[in-house]
Symmetry: C3
Subunit: 395 residues, 3 copies
């Protein structure tokens, strides 16, 4: 309890401007705002684990829009909303390129009359996901301005083509707790590296989200990938600027070994080359199935040239007793595929750690919603702590 109270005090000291703001990209938030989000996530987790109900709403709808399959983010969002007292209502659309214009404008209003939050996953088409989320946000602003909606739901990015902030923030909170504070991340080396996978078309949002966020805390970020496996150039540029501003660094290297050398944290994960994602988006838009097949074939063939990009025990031995991270599910060699991102023994050692990493996501999402919707979050959290209403009759 004292820890929860201390965190609420720490939150009081933060200068934040999150009320009424969507959470789309971590680099649109200040460092203090990110830290406030960590604090609220930990306060909510602390309350739940101490049997205190953090329910802020008596009723209210939280919409989910998943344009791509999802299990863990879907459950994280559902859990976060439930914890706050909101009921999830799925908006289901065909898995198609985002609707635009009139349809988005109208739909955004129609699903929001009694809605508090809208979580959106739209990560398939390059250039679409972030744009769609902003279009929804704009439509909501317009509807509020026109007196159509009694309140403005917050839009939470549950993964776009550009960023995956609920993942990256959960990952960062895992590091904060591992190293004993956000201020202890400064100078720590993290290797965000490509890793081999026998699959294709994995989004860029995780590596982009990781380099975009970890450079905020003064970390030494080493990004490594084989020839051609670049990310969206603008996101790399943002990470570079973040590093300069925080006193950290962003280094791009061309081997997993170099990235792992002396690392405190490693995040080996497959993704598709930016150029392939661009071509794929164009072909998906055209609906050219034959060319898509051929693209997949050539991309997989290319992947196969880089089978050595695997997080083995030997690779791990290059690090400074590094923490292994993954957004899950990982391609584990000899388990989920013949040869993949990580050796079985490495994954086994860190399995529980990766699960705990994932376990922060519901609280991160709840914190994003809470801070966006509450004018006086400190006072509200204090009231919850004082009330000590039990979440469960007995635990």
């Amino acid at each position: 309890m004292n820890e929860i109270a201390a965190r609420i005090d720490a939150l009081r000291a933060k200068k934040i401007n999150l009320h009424g703001k969507d959470f789309l990209l971590t680099w649109e938030k200040s460092a203090e705002e990110l830290e406030a989000t960590f604090q609220v996530a930990e306060i909510l987790r602390g309350m739940r684990e101490n049997r205190i109900s953090p329910r802020l709403w008596d009723s209210g709808i939280a919409v989910s829009i998943f344009k791509d399959n999802s299990t863990r983010t879907r459950f994280s969002y559902a859990s976060a909303c439930n914890l706050l007292g909101l009921t999830v209502q799925d908006f289901e659309e065909k898995k198609s390129q985002a609707a635009h214009g009139e349809t988005v404008r109208e739909t955004a209003a129609m699903i929001s009359f009694l809605t508090e939050a809208i979580g959106i996953r739209d990560d398939i088409f390059l250039g679409e996901g972030d744009r769609f989320q902003r279009e929804v946000a704009q439509a909501l602003d317009d509807a509020v301005a026109a007196g159509v909606l009694p309140g403005r739901p917050v839009v939470v990015n549950l993964q776009s083509d550009v960023d995956h902030p609920t993942q990256a923030m959960a990952d960062a909170l895992h590091l904060v707790n591992r190293f004993g504070g956000a201020d202890r991340l400064k100078g720590k080396k993290i290797a965000m590296t490509w890793a081999h996978s026998p699959s294709y078309g994995k989004p860029l949002s995780v590596p982009q989200g990781i380099i975009g966020l970890m450079t905020r805390f003064g970390m030494e970020v080493a990004l490594a990938y084989p020839p051609g496996y670049t990310l969206i150039p603008e996101t790399v540029e943002i990470a570079r600027k973040n590093a300069a501003a925080s006193g950290g660094s962003l280094t791009i290297v061309s081997s997993m070994e170099e990235a792992f050398e002396g690392a405190d944290v490693v995040y080996p994960k497959s993704w598709a080359p930016y150029a392939v994602m661009q071509e794929r988006t164009a072909l998906l838009t055209k609906g050219d199935e034959a060319a898509l097949k051929e693209l997949e074939r050539s991309c997989l063939a290319n992947n196969a040239s880089y089978r050595s990009w695997e997080c083995t025990e030997k690779m791990m031995s290059l690090t400074r007793d590094a923490l292994y991270m993954h957004c899950l599910p990982a391609d584990i060699s000899g388990v989920s595929c013949a040869q993949g991102e990580v050796a079985e023994s490495v994954f086994d050692r860190f399995r529980a750690a990766t699960y705990r990493e994932a376990g922060y996501k519901p609280y991160i999402i709840a914190a994003m919603i809470l801070l966006a919707r509450l004018r006086r979050p400190v006072e509200a959290l204090e009231a919850l702590l004082k009330a000590k209403a039990p979440r469960f009759v007995e635990e």
Copy 2:
């Protein structure tokens, strides 16, 4: 707050017999009962906008049965139920002609053991939707009589082949607020007109619901459609009798211009001819895909003869500065189709108004459920207002 209290007082004066009754067709309810429904909808809206929780249930299931796709009615129902404290559980069935007899009887009981409301959308087959809803209602009555169910869930028509009462009632409440009271609707002219659309098979329930309801308030209702685009004859007959009883009128005219002339309200919307819907129902029942294709082709060709039935600025200039209404989504010329129901500039001017119109639906549905389930709605609403329990910790 004073306005909410005043509305509760107004409700007290109404003679209503809604407890334990389903809401299937507006013309099965008295004028006072319709006005009571408006009052409760506005009371609930007022409470929510004043941060007062109108939650009546601590737990409880609300079943939804959607035999046709739906976004806005689905969200309206989900929002209404959530506001009252009920959790929606979808009953999913193949999109098929309604099951009958044993299956309906059994299913109705099986989904209702702890259920408070059942919302049903069944509008595809002519002669089926209303019949199915009544079959469910009868099965529930039987189950209660047999001691199988501890309570009788209310059945709410979320659109049938005959009426769309949640839409028409939301539309009417929009007019009540526009003109300053239900008593102010008397003598106002509303044009319910067919409009051109490049699509086919749109249900008749909206125009039928509108003429069936607006004739209750003494309005001058002009119904207009091209040759052959008739509605179910019985519903027109009901509207005619309603008009006679309320001191209004129902006039059927053969051009949009005539209907719009001097109108205070216009509702231009496409629908399929009654005869086509009959044939379509027969073909769907037989599963005759080829004949359905041909019916669609000939119907679209016929539609194309009436492209001039478009709500343009010129048409609007015939009216008495009329309010444009639509149940959404509208076919907007040059936006959602080449040439449709309404010109872009007209729709743009009324976009926010149509969104507000749609925004009444959750409260109308909640009012229908509340009045059907509560023996003493006035006392319950007074208690809610007195308790002033916050819906949200802070807004």
Copy 3:
């Protein structure tokens, strides 16, 4: 109220060890534990019917995993969870043979961070359903041991290849109330008999569950089926041992007539032969569509040889004014099929009784969850009864 209080007192006297335990098979529970489950189900039903809220949770997720279609069990689970204050989140998977190993281990943790209960239906593949449920349970134990989960959700078997405990327990509670107490079941004869159906591949879990459970109460259980229509041998062995221990009996006979002779209860229901289910599982695993078709054809032809296995009035006249039971939906001759499990007049007479039988299921499921999650169920139920918080503002 006095009855509820008396049942709470009766519960106090029971020696039970249900806290933290999954509910997978009835024969893994002691007789006192089964009776405690009946008591809690009746206490919850009594509270709800007396307008007392049995809501124990302020928030919390209940996961449902349905690998087979379901209406009544889905609604029963949803209703049970809702009654206790939990929100159901479906985990959807392709209808495929259960995933194993890494995937199950990871998924079980990922869906459980804020989860209180996991209900699983997995009854299609012989040898899979029960195994899958135990794999999930083991994964949850591991996750709790590794500090990944803050609490251990209870796993509830919503039907496996081996048992259907929520059905069998609801059936048994129906009998307890019919005969005036669990102790009154001793010596009563129940006929669990195969019955003809023009369908194929019906699971064995209901007859196995019935003989496995009813033998616990000293009942005389007559199991009857045509040549070859055997059950999983181990489950018959368990029933035999149960009968020996409880002072009842299990007799296998070869005609419906013999089983019905002097019966107090009859449960005529179709199932597929064990050998067919084994072959079907092998073919489904191989994906051999042609052989599956052929198996279905031969199995249906075999079924047709036993059309006389129908619960007719003549069959009923052999009994001691027996209660007819069925898990629903029944194949009713001349109604849902040409010739099926039961004659129309018999079913008509017992329709309401079978609906009431089904109506116990939500309360049985809620009781299973409550007893597995609460350390001090008696104290919690007493507190609920004392608080008398209304579930509904007015009823």
